[in-house]
Symmetry: C2
Subunit: 305 residues, 2 copies
């Protein structure tokens, strides 16, 4: 529990074949390609892994495959979100037993309307924390439809042993991170951002110690954090400005399909299929994405060639 995780923890996409079945061999190459870029860790079964399009059985299959293949080369963060507290705790336990270094989860929600109140959220995270002995990262994500206040997050960090990482993806991330760090102090072991690192510079300036982007360009995001940590914010800003057009296009135009398209070009995966009802990337959008990516000489775009 005592190691503090910092740095770039990108999300591994889940590769499917053209028929929609899981492509295990491509999944292994995705993980190797990410590790070869010097990532500080990998997040699996996240929203950008299309977790909401997987059956329970497929979740377990992917957990086993990823844990076996990574085999402790880098720490793995596994998600366990489910509206049922009991099922979320069982998922967390399974992941921790398989060797996950951290559990990530959203507060409980279902659909547009069902969510727990502050007490229910506290109980939900407490039950999950009691099921594992690894740290837990709270995902403050708009997808859940749940507003997590600074007060509640600080209470979670102070009162629930294990809850110590926070990934903030709501509007005005930097302000929220700053307020969280100020109010939570040492209880906030890891203030992270996410959402493709689209808010990274502001968040680093606010005190973020880690970021969870997609697996599109971790090789190019890593130097931003390195320069910033070394106190050279000008170099960090310069590097970030170089990659921001691609990140912006990913974030606003492509979503999780961007990483798959680039990894397909790079021979990492054999199909960029996303599961219906997610639509495939339109050809024009895909072409513009690759045009923005090409000058950056991304590892993911040449790794398997």
């Amino acid at each position: 529990m005592n190691k503090i995780y910092t740095g770039v923890f990108p999300i591994a996409p889940t590769p499917f074949r053209d028929d929609g079945t899981i492509d295990g061999e491509s999944q292994k190459r995705v993980l190797d390609c990410m590790i070869d870029q010097g990532v500080d860790g990998i997040c699996i079964l996240a929203n950008y892994s299309e977790q909401f399009l997987l059956s329970d059985e497929e979740r377990t299959e992917l957990l086993d495959l990823c844990m076996d293949h990574v085999s402790s080369r880098v720490p793995i963060i596994a998600t366990c979100s489910h509206f049922s507290t009991g099922i979320a705790a069982a998922r967390a336990k399974e992941a921790a037993e398989r060797g996950a270094a951290m559990i990530m989860m959203m507060p409980p929600y279902h659909g547009a309307l069902l969510k727990a109140g502050p007490q229910g959220i506290m109980e939900h995270f407490t039950a999950v924390a009691e099921a594992v002995d690894v740290p837990i990262m709270v995902q403050d994500a708009p997808l859940s439809g749940v507003d997590l206040s600074i007060d509640l997050m600080v209470r979670m960090a102070m009162e629930i042993s294990g809850v110590s990482y926070f990934k903030i993806e709501t509007p005005q991330t930097a302000d929220k991170l700053r307020a969280l760090i100020t109010a939570g102090g040492k209880a906030i072991a890891g203030p992270f951002d996410g959402e493709e690192s689209i808010t990274l510079m502001a968040d680093l300036n606010a005190g973020a110690t880690g970021t969870m982007p997609s697996a599109l360009l971790p090789d190019r995001i890593k130097p931003v954090l390195a320069h910033h940590a070394a106190g050279d914010s000008t170099a960090a800003e310069t590097q970030y400005t170089t990659i921001l057009p691609l990140i912006n296009f990913e974030n606003r135009q492509c979503g999780l399909r961007a990483c798959k398209a680039v990894m397909m070009e790079g021979g990492v995966i054999t199909s960029e299929h996303v599961r219906h009802p997610l639509p495939p990337l339109p050809p024009e959008t895909r072409a513009q994405l690759l045009e923005l990516a090409r000058p950056l000489d991304l590892v993911a775009m040449r790794w398997g060639r």
Copy 2:
């Protein structure tokens, strides 16, 4: 495919033990208690069955148990909603193969933000319809966060073979049902309402031919439809006025916990546990519910005594 289903199709609650595990024996009694009330059919694995708090394995266990136990005594509607089109189709196929008379589903959604557009919804329902040869009921429910327009629902009914039942639960149900029936004509085999039958009188007057309440008081809802079908709208209105205070209290104060509390009182189930993060019914609310229910001499409140 040719039988037209009409009448009262209540949702079977999923009984848990106090420890949160599924109580199969209580589930059987729930089904028997409902059948003894002369229901026209039963819906399983619905939102009021806490479907969003079940694992995939538990879904299958419940499907098997309910199909075996009901054993064709009444038609069963089984839900199959999942954001993944492939998983929804597989669930529908499994239910139809086990003997479900109808499949019910919401348009694809996940969380507060993810939903398909009209084309994606068409494709989603088409894929499910192609996987089964039983009719499909479209659930127009606020929980999904998806707006289903009259135009889209009529297109679904006209263009997708099997899509022929519509359960409307959005605001102003009666207007929407009337518009749907007018625009869809014969393609709308079953215009239903739901939501505890809280809008039943207006919906019957608009042309609804079926209702999907909870399993709290189907014995008292059935006469409303019978009187209305016989052309005696005064008797229907009188009967409905008698039960409306209880339905109103269920709908606005209790949700799915009302049926469980009454069935607990009636010895139908051995625990009224709902899965966390749903909170148990506060004692004051439970007492008021039973006070409203008692004078109605509900079957569910005495069946197992």
